[in-house]
Each structure stands twice: as structure tokens, then as C-alpha cells.
Amino acid sequence: MEYKVEAHRIMSISLGKIYNSRVQRGGIKLHKNLLVSLVLRSARQVYLSDYYSGACLNAQSEREGNEWDITDSEREKFPPSATECDRVESTEEPQPNEQPEKEREYRENDDEVKSDQVDCTSTLQEQNQNSSLDSVAKVSSETPPESITEPKESPSDSAVAERDSTPEANGESHQPPKPHVCSNRKRSAEESESGDSPQKRTKVASSNAKEDEEAEEMDTSNVSNLITIFGSSFSGLLSKESAKPEAEAEDSGQICCDQMLKNLNPWSTAIVAF
């Protein structure tokens, strides 16, 4: 658990540094930003692998466990649909600063939102591959496919093709946007970003490098867009963390954490070695 907290903290610090580098005198320093992006990436990997490894271990240890209850109940509450995502976004409370700008950005195109779901799931798959956790894949595949409407698939696919820069599994768009939805549910007060976190999450990898490219161009307006992107991705990850313990059944959330803690030992050495 503490690794996740630590990774989370390091990620927020790194993002702050990247943001501040925009306003530094003398322009963006490529070397420093490269190092910061490497740290950010490492922390993100630890943070996400920690999250998913925890989910996997819970599933392994308790097939009828509360983890499943959460997913089932959440699935009921938030049937994965594009319109639902839109609604979630629109019911979001207005938050200061960049919020209006981003909402405009996000509502501009419905397709963008749809692709969010796909990207989210694809990222989920990427994480699955990375951590080789079969059970998580099982979780995904057990989602009733009928909950995803057919027509959505084609725009999603095309959106995937154009958006994903990281190698994805073959656009299985029937994956549930459950994590995406979870992240939309809970929004802590300090987060001022809206919820297209998964999409932006996949973009982080490219955005990091993209920022280096921006560094070459030294184009501060593009960098400011990237910073908002970083910000939103970060908020998505943060929401993801808070989604779990703040799940519908508080007890089950607690038990999940405990389970994760119990099973953390074999993984902790891996993380320490990292």
C-alpha cells in the first residue's frame, strides 16, 4: 500500500515539475524534463501494477469475493455505455481554473468519449500483459458483451487506430469501461480535471516523449495543453485509487485492502527490486 502512496506522491511531484518547467527562465530544459519523465513513468508503472496486482490477487484468493461483488454492483449501477459516460461527465461539479476549458475540449466530440472507453480497456489489457495477470483478463472477459452497443464499436475502433500510439491488443472494444466509470464516480475536491483519464493515460507514454518534442519546438502553448493532459491523467489515477476504498460496500472495500495487503508480500519484493 505504501508503495502506491509513495508512487502516487512521486507522480504528483513530477507533474508539478514538468508544469513549472514551462515558466522557467531560459526555456524548457530537455535533460531535466527527460529525467523527470523517466521518474514519472517508473512511478506510474509501480502505481498501476500495484493496483492491478492487488485486484488480481483478490480475485485469485476469493472467487466469490467482495471484489466481484463490487464489480457486479457497479456494473449494474453504471451499465457501460457511451451515453452514460457523457452523463457522468456532465453531472460533474464545476471546478476552478482549467475545468471549463477541458469540458469544452471533452464534449466537443462524442467519438472522443467513446474512444476513451476503448482506450481504457485497451490500457487495461496492456497492464494485463505487463503484469501477466490472467484473472484480471478473466474479469474483463466476463463482462456481458450485450452491454456494449454494436454501433459504438466502429467509431471506437477508428478512434483507437488514430489515438493509440502504444501497441494495444487488437481493439477488443467489448471490454467494460468499468475502471473508467469508477474513476468518474469519485472525484476528490482537489482534482480539477474531468474524467477522461484512461484516454489520457495511454497518451502519457507518448505525451512524455511528446513533451520532449515540444521541448525542441519550444512551443509553450502546446506544452500547456500537455500539462492539462498530464493533469487529467493524474486525476484519473487518483480517482482510481479512491474508487476502490470508496466502493459501494465500505466493508468489502476494507476487506479488499486487507486482502491486498496480505498478498502484497510476494509482490513487495518485486516492487523493492524495481
Binding site: I10, H31, V39, A209, E217
Partner: protein, 448 residues
């Protein structure tokens, strides 16, 4: 005076001088950003964040005070670089002097190269101590004389005047670097020099300013694939075809300019395998090399990363021959150092004249010296409290845990704002210059 045999501990380092304001409130422009002795050690140049260069000259040794060698006094001060604005990219270019390198002296004048992030300038520093007097057409004030008053012709005579030191920019090497220049190095042929930025290294001829040869280019076709940058570069002290450059991944590449016009393929690749047990979030940052320096002999080179100094034998690529821990106690504090940006500090390192000792800086105004022969090391502090003339410096010790002895300082009490990034060792004698923020300390070895 011959350089002492042996290293740090055989010497008794004494305070000699300190230059700079005493004021606690440090102006950013006064922060020293580079220190360099010239080839004879007679001159000591500093550059600061305000774009100024100050040159100190050693006074002739006086017969009366045999115990102290000549002191360094201000010789010349000039504004080398000004802040600029790149209108195309909407970027301000800092005037901070990143590096100064002296050219070998070939006549009465002295030449040095100074570089900021984008531009390198060749400065000529010359003395004027005579003035012509007795002009025919103008009088002493400079006013033109009434021509009808001129009845005789006279030859002007050179009269002595107060010494005036003039600095004039002789060459400006600009527009060759997209990224920030981190190094310049004069070649042993005394005709060319190289300049390195984050992704490219250029070779210049000292006489030609409108073009340079690009000899290393590590910019990937797709910037998203960028994984490392160039952090330092230096020409070999004797072989004018050889240079090295270090990277942010902790590797050093040695290149031979005879092999190809573009030296993207290295001749030698120096890398030490990483110790997997010490892996952390910050492993990559602390392995980034901040400085690389050839030994005077040309047989070794030294690299500085965040926590250590390594000496490499040019004939052995797979690991350094010597590793010295500068401040290993910081390894457990890397997260805090990342937060306060100290982990990005770029420490330099330097050899003594005989290559028997090396020196580098640390925090709390501490600096460290390592004797390569005896393997002993010493930690000293540059502070105004130890600044009585010829006062001997007391070795300092950082307490890493457990009971703190008297005179030790605990890791948590270290002042991370007081960092010594730039040090220089006189090429022939045991005189060192240490830059502590806006102050320049000069220490000498007490004559045994």
C-alpha cells in the same frame, strides 16, 4: 613550485582568500556558475549567472611574505553575455555563463572562450600600460587644436599610464545549437574546439564563426524515442582526434574523428553494470553523469554522477578502475532531494596537476578530496567562519546514524542550499578555487 606528491591528506589546506559579497541575501546574478584556471595558473576566471566574467590575477610572490604565495586580485571584469530573446520560439535565453575555457597563451594577450546556453564568445584580454602623448593635431584633452596654432611637428611619445585591462570580443560563435550548451573544450591542436548541447556536438575552428561541423548527433528521428541526452564532452588533452562525451544514462563514449565525419558510432563505450540491489525510482537520475574530465596524462578520465566520482582507464571499458563515494549518506534521502530539485544538481570534478588527487563538491559548502594513491579522503568546508588568513582547515565529518560525535554534523542538518558545484585546481601548484554560491574561496597548501 612543484606539485606535491601524494594527495589530500598529506596537505594542510589553509584558507587564503574569499571573494564576493558577505551579505546573506544572495543576488541570483552573482551566483558563480563556472571557475577555471588558465594554463599557467596565473589567471583565474569565474563566470556568473548574470553573464559576467571576472578574472583574477596572481600577484608576484613577494620576498617578504614567504609563507604565503601570491594572492589573486581582480584583473578584469566584463559582461560576456546578455539575456536574449528568441522571437521565433518565444524563449528567453539566459545570460548565465555555463563554461569558460582558456586558450593556451601565445602572445601577450590572453584568450578565453565563454559560453551561455546558445552562444560561445572568444574574448581577448589585453593590457595597456602605455599611452601616446604629444599628438600634433589634438591636445591632451583630446580637443582638436586650432590648425593655425600648429607651428612645429613633434613625434608622439609613449608614456606609462595606469594599467588598463581591456576585454574585447574577437569572435562570436552563434546559431549552432538548438538545445542548451553544456560543455566547451579546446582541442590540443589549438585551432579547433568543440561545443556540446543536449543532443549534438559541434566542432569549430577558432577563426571561423559562420559555420561549424556537427560531429555527434543523437537526436532520434522521432523525439518520442528519446531516452538519453549528452551531458558533458571533452577533447583529449594530447590526441587531437579523440574526444569523449557522457550521457544521462551514465555511459561515456570515446570517439575518434579520423574514423568518420559523423562520430555517432563510438570507438569505445564505457559503462558500469548497474547494481540491481540499489534500484529505485531515482536510479536513472543519480546515474546521469554531470561532468567528465580527462587526466592531465590523458590516460584516465574521471566522471561525476550524483553520489560518486569514478576514474576510468581508457583501456578498460567495462568498469571504472576507481570509485569514490562523495556523499553516500544521501542515498536514503533521494526522494526529498528529488522534491527540492537538489537531485538535479550538476557537480563538477577536477584533477590536481599530477593526477594523484581529485576533488569535487557536495552540500553544506563541503567539498571532498580523494588521494588516488593512499585512498584516503578528506572533507573540508568553505565558510566565512574559517576565513582567518592562513587558518588551517579542519576536516569535517558527516554523521550517518547513531550517536553524533562532537564536531560531526548530522545528515538532516546539512544545508542543501549551500552547494559547491564548481571547483578548480591550479595546474601546477596546490592552490584550489572553490565556488560557494556567490563567493569564491581560494585555499592553499601550507608549505611544509
Amino acid at each position: 613550485m612543484m606539485a606535491g606528491v601524494g594527495g589530500g591528506n598529506d596537505f594542510q589546506w589553509c584558507f587564503s582568500q574569499v571573494k564576493g559579497a558577505i551579505d546573506e541575501d544572495v543576488a541570483e546574478a552573482d551566483i558563480i556558475s563556472t571557475v577555471e584556471f588558465n594554463c599557467s595558473g596565473e589567471l583565474l576566471a569565474t563566470g556568473d549567472k548574470g553573464g559576467r566574467v571576472v578574472i583574477f590575477q596572481r600577484e608576484q610572490e613577494s620576498k617578504n611574505r614567504l609563507l604565503s604565495r601570491g594572492e589573486y586580485n581582480v584583473y578584469s571584469t566584463f559582461q560576456s553575455h546578455e539575456p536574449e530573446f528568441d522571437y521565433l520560439k518565444s524563449l528567453e535565453i539566459e545570460e548565465k555563463i555555463n563554461k569558460i575555457r582558456w586558450l593556451p597563451q601565445q602572445n601577450a594577450a590572453h584568450f578565453l572562450l565563454s559560453a551561455n546556453d546558445k552562444t560561445i564568445k572568444l574574448w581577448k584580454i589585453s593590457e595597456r600600460d602605455k599611452r601616446a602623448e604629444g599628438y600634433n593635431l589634438k591636445d591632451e584633452d583630446g580637443r582638436l587644436r586650432d590648425q593655425f596654432r600648429i607651428t612645429t611637428l613633434r613625434v608622439p611619445v609613449l608614456m606609462p599610464m595606469d594599467l588598463m585591462v581591456e576585454a574585447s570580443p574577437r569572435r562570436i560563435f552563434a546559431n549552432a545549437h538548438t538545445y542548451h550548451i553544456n560543455s566547451i573544450s579546446v582541442n590540443s591542436d589549438y585551432e579547433t574546439y568543440l561545443s556540446a548541447d543536449d543532443l549534438r556536438i559541434n566542432l569549430w575552428h577558432l577563426e571561423i564563426t559562420d559555420r561549424s561541423f556537427n560531429i555527434v548527433d543523437i537526436k532520434p528521428a522521432n523525439m518520442e524515442e528519446l531516452t538519453e541526452v549528452i551531458t558533458a564532452a571533452e577533447c583529449h588533452p594530447h590526441q587531437c582526434n579523440v574526444f569523449v562525451y557522457s550521457s544521462s544514462k551514465g555511459t561515456i563514449r570515446l570517439c575518434d574523428m579520423r574514423a568518420a565525419a559523423l562520430c555517432d558510432r563510438h570507438s569505445k563505450f564505457f559503462e558500469e553494470p548497474e547494481d540491481p540491489s540499489s534500484r529505485s525510482f531515482f536510479s536513472e537520475i543519480i546515474s546521469s553523469i554531470s561532468d567528465v574530465k580527462f587526466s592531465h596524462s590523458g590516460r584516465y578520465m574521471m566522471t561525476r554522477d550524483y553520489l560518486s566520482v569514478k576514474v576510468w582507464d581508457l583501456n578498460m571499458e567495462n568498469r571504472p578502475v576507481e570509485t569514490y563515494q562523495v556523499h553516500e549518506y544521501l542515498r536514503s534521502k533521494l526522494c526529498s532531494l528529488y522534491e527540492n530539485d537538489c537531485i538535479f544538481d550538476k557537480f563538477e570534478c577536477c584533477w590536481n596537476g599530477s593526477d594523484s588527487a581529485i576533488m569535487t563538491g557536495s552540500y553544506n559548502n563541503f567539498f571532498r578530496m580523494f588521494d588516488r594513491n593512499t585512498r584516503r579522503d578528506i572533507t573540508l568546508e568553505a565558510s566565512r567562519e574559517n576565513s582567518k588568513p592562513r587558518a588551517m582547515l579542519k576536516p569535517r565529518k558527516v554523521c550517518t546514524g547513531g550517536k553524533r560525535k562532537k564536531d560531526e554534523i548530522s545528515v538532516d542538518s546539512l544545508d542543501f542550499n549551500k552547494k559547491i558545484l564548481h571547483t578548480a585546481w591550479h595546474p601546477k601548484e596546490n592552490v584550489i578555487a572553490v565556488a560557494a554560491t556567490n563567493n569564491l574561496y581560494i585555499f592553499q597548501d601550507k608549505i611544509n
